[in-house]
């Protein structure tokens, strides 16, 4: 039976067609993956399904009945449940309160808290979703929060669950657990729309997959009859070859040395006695679920956050107390996590954004005055060299796509040919083309003798680019291992806080069983 059928869904915005005639059919008891690059139209489609946005054309049929959604309430009433990428939970309420919120059991306007806890407990048990019913949500790990979100939908009798990029915040083992839950929901007759940009996840859990590109459906395939290569071709419109890494020479002297660094953020120990070093001609990747201290470590290296103890040396100089400018003079460059907030001035043009950091010296400054003509030339040179797609240097960078804006940031930082780069989430939210190009740039920079500290929550990125990998968990570095010895399950266990030796033994044991290594 058809659980959901979309036909000809179209949504136009002034400059783009976000969804151009999308048709999609989801059967009852099916896991249906929706895959596409950033900007392919996934989020618009989801917003339409959940009543946040109204389509210009097209019909939505749920369980054989034609529907239109004015707001989320209509979508909930029709049996749709949405698990957002950013959890929509109330931090100071308990798990049970979060689940029943808006549809609380009780009489005379009072909330029957005991009934709420019991109902949520039953529901959790029925679908194998372990949650601490009576605990406040604020300090629970993300894997649990996700289960709470799923329970919220189930409590409202959702028959179709929409999971928006649900694995982005999970360790590989947690993702595996989520897939188990998805399979048990499928067994119970629920339909699941699983939105992702990761091919291996589609292959692992989905029955069928619909591929979106530029707002259109380019393919609808049965997973068992297709291959990652075919799906990726439909996503990008061409064959993607993961580029070979350039030959590697022996790494040189340490450029970044971090020794016993502890950082406190809001009174909490965010970085806990971390030591690591990055040598010239080497990429050291930091793997870890977001929020385990990676950002605080990068901020400490950049001089944006004081150390409580420990020391940091850049190119051999102790930078204790030095501000960001002094560190940059020593050869520090930085691709920050958020290109819109800290990585660029979105309202400024490319000339301005590319000149920053070069503006204190010749040739962009002469006798205390900026040289506008040279700034334009400088921008044009970097735009050419890094292949930024932009109409001209006078275009405000905030209007660029994520990938092109990120290329501007990368161009500015790598244009220095400085010895050290701290790259935080360098490809987050950019399309495959830009990912390839940025990875290529980082690899070339390394081959030229640059030292890179790469912080990324994409495990594949860390594995592909790094020479050595450090795993961070709750502010501590669990281990630093050569990437040749790293496997996804091993990193995943350490990302969940399992010590290196134990993780190694566990991984060996499960590999012997012919188990989870995938």
């Amino acid at each position: 039976m058809r659980a959901l059928e979309l036909s000809g869904i179209t949504k136009r915005y002034p400059k783009v067609v976000a969804n151009g005639g999308i048709s999609l059919a989801v059967e009852q008891g099916e896991i249906h993956a929706l895959i596409g690059e950033n900007g392919a139209g996934k989020s618009t489609l989801v917003s339409i399904l959940y009543g946040f946005v109204q389509p210009d054309e097209g019909t939505i049929v749920v369980g054989g009945e034609r529907r239109s959604f004015k707001d989320p309430t209509d979508a909930i009433a029709a049996g749709l449940g949405m698990v957002f990428q950013n959890f929509n939970l109330f931090p100071e309420l308990t798990v049970a309160e979060n689940v029943v919120f808006g549809a609380e059991p009780g009489r005379l306007g009072l909330v029957d808290r005991r009934a709420a806890a019991a109902e949520v407990g039953d529901l959790a048990e029925r679908y194998g979703l372990q949650v601490p019913v009576g605990e406040r949500v604020e300090h629970l790990p993300v894997g649990v929060l996700q289960r709470v979100e799923i329970l919220k939908s189930l409590y409202r009798d959702a028959r179709i669950l929409i999971l928006d990029e649900p694995t982005g915040v999970l360790t590989p083992q947690e993702s595996e657990g989520l897939f188990e839950v998805m399979r048990s929901l499928r067994a119970a007759g629920k339909s699941i729309i699983f939105i992702t940009h990761k091919l291996d996840e589609v292959m692992a859990v989905a029955d069928r997959v619909t591929v979106l590109r530029d707002g259109r459906v380019t393919a609808s395939l049965v997973t068992a009859e297709t291959s990652p290569r075919e799906i990726s071709r439909h996503m990008t419109g061409r064959d993607v070859e993961l580029s070979q890494r350039l030959a590697r020479s022996a790494p040189g002297a340490p450029v970044l040395e971090v020794e016993g660094v502890t950082v406190e953020v809001d009174g909490r120990t965010a970085v806990d006695d971390v030591s690591l070093s990055v040598r010239a001609g080497e990429i050291v990747g930091i793997a870890g679920v977001a929020g385990n201290g990676q950002d605080a470590l990068a901020a400490a290296i950049g001089g944006h956050h004081p150390l409580r103890s420990g020391r940091i040396r850049i190119a051999g100089t102790d930078v204790d107390g030095a501000d960001n400018r002094r560190r940059r003079d020593l050869g520090f460059t930085h691709i920050p996590e958020d290109r819109h907030v800290t990585g660029s001035a979105p309202l400024g043009d490319a000339v301005l954004n590319l000149a920053v950091g070069y503006h204190r010296r010749s040739p962009l400054r002469e006798r205390g005055l900026l040289q506008p003509k040279r700034m334009v030339e400088h921008a044009e040179r970097l735009i050419r060299r890094f292949g930024v797609r932009i109409a001209g240097p006078a275009v405000a960078v905030g209007t660029l796509s994520g990938g092109n804006l990120q290329k501007i940031v990368v161009a500015r930082e790598l244009g220095h040919d400085a010895p050290l780069l701290v790259a935080e989430q360098p490809t987050r939210g950019v399309d495959i083309g830009a990912i390839e190009s940025i990875h290529g740039e980082l690899d070339e920079y390394r081959a030229r003798g640059g030292a890179v500290l790469l912080v990324s929550s994409e495990l594949s990125e860390v594995l592909n680019l790094s020479d050595r990998i450090a795993v961070m968990f709750e502010g501590r570095v669990m281990a630093v291992i050569p990437s040749a010895e790293a496997t996804v399950p091993l990193l995943g266990l350490m990302m969940a806080g399992v010590p290196y030796e134990t993780a190694l033994a566990e991984e060996a044991a499960s590999a012997a069983e012919g188990g989870t290594a995938r």
């Binding site: 929509n88 109330f90 809001d266």
Partner: protein, 306 residues
């Protein structure tokens, strides 16, 4: 002189000082919990004070005065309620404008209606009398505290208990808290944040109006220009300090009221009026800095970001 610190009369004065603060504080608290920063409390209270006395003078009935005080409070709260939430204007700009407007408007109306400047006090005006309880009134300390409660004093006590129960036990209270924590999440579950926020601000208008009426009809029977004298601001700070919790709010306000009461009583020992007037604000300031420092040391969030 030290016995003043524990004299029954001091506690009676504390209660008189606390009642209006508490009513206004509950109004500020419900706004805080629903996620609206209400800085128009000062104006709401001043309007209530004027409306209360003017109403009583014009109608000859204190109860009618209280009703007019409520209406005045709600009217003054409505710019924040509709302009700030429904129309999306900056709540701080609205709040401060309203406060300035009310200072001028009450002075103007004082002259336009009653032909007086500065203050209005007419002999024979119907005020809210303290209710003297038959038996409890004779218990030492407690008796003198209870005996200084007007009908609005009892309203304040009931409102405090009701607020706590409303927030913790009722469906609507749970939803209101949810809206304050994460309006977006509430919206995805079909709860309209704007509706809860608008309603909460109007409730603060009612409570603030009552607070004003207690000032001008309960504690004394007169109105003077700028009678609220910064109490609204004290309440704004107290609500932030208490982080929107009922009991801590009562504690912070009681501290202010206690110092206020002691200061007034010390005036009879030759303490300069200016010092007595300033003392409660000074103590509040010290408490503010101390609590903020304590929170920082404990690793909590700094007050400014609250």
């Amino acid at each position: 002189m030290l016995e003043i610190l524990i004299a029954p009369e001091t506690f009676a004065a504390l209660v008189r000082s606390l009642v209006p603060l508490l009513l206004l504080g509950l109004g500020g608290l419900i706004c805080h919990r629903v996620g609206v920063f209400n800085v128009s409390l000062e104006g709401i209270m001043l309007a209530g004070a004027f409306g209360g006395l003017a109403g009583s003078v014009l109608t000859g009935s204190a109860i009618a005065g209280v009703a007019i005080a409520i209406v005045s409070g709600v009217i003054v709260a409505s710019p924040l309620s509709f302009g700030g939430i429904v129309r999306g204007a900056d709540p701080i700009v609205i709040g401060i404008s309203v406060n300035l407007l009310v200072v001028g408007l009450t002075s103007f109306l004082l002259f336009a209606i009653f032909g007086v400047r500065g203050s209005l006090q007419q002999p024979g005006t119907d005020g809210l009398d303290a209710i003297r309880l038959p038996l409890l009134g004779d218990v030492p300390w407690l008796g003198s505290m209870l005996s200084s409660l007007t009908v609005l004093g009892y309203v304040a006590i009931l409102a405090t208990v009701a607020m706590q129960l409303y927030l913790s036990r009722t469906r609507s209270g749970l939803r209101l808290r949810g809206v304050g924590m994460k309006p977006g999440a509430a919206a995805t579950l079909g709860i309209s944040p704007a509706r809860y926020q608008t309603a909460a601000v109007l409730v603060s208008g009612v409570l603030g109006g009552l607070a004003g009426a207690q000032l001008s009809l309960g504690n004394v029977v007169l109105f003077t220009e700028n009678m609220s004298a910064g109490r609204g601001w004290i309440v704004v700070v107290a609500v932030l300090l208490a982080n929107g919790r009922v009991l801590p709010l009562v504690g912070v306000l009681a501290l202010f009221a206690y110092v206020d009461a002691v200061g007034i009583r010390l005036q009879s020992f030759g303490l300069p009026v200016q010092f007595a007037d300033a003392a409660p604000y000074l103590v509040t300031l010290i408490a503010l800095v101390a609590i903020a420092a304590l929170r920082r040391r404990r690793g909590g969030v700094a007050l400014v970001t609250a």
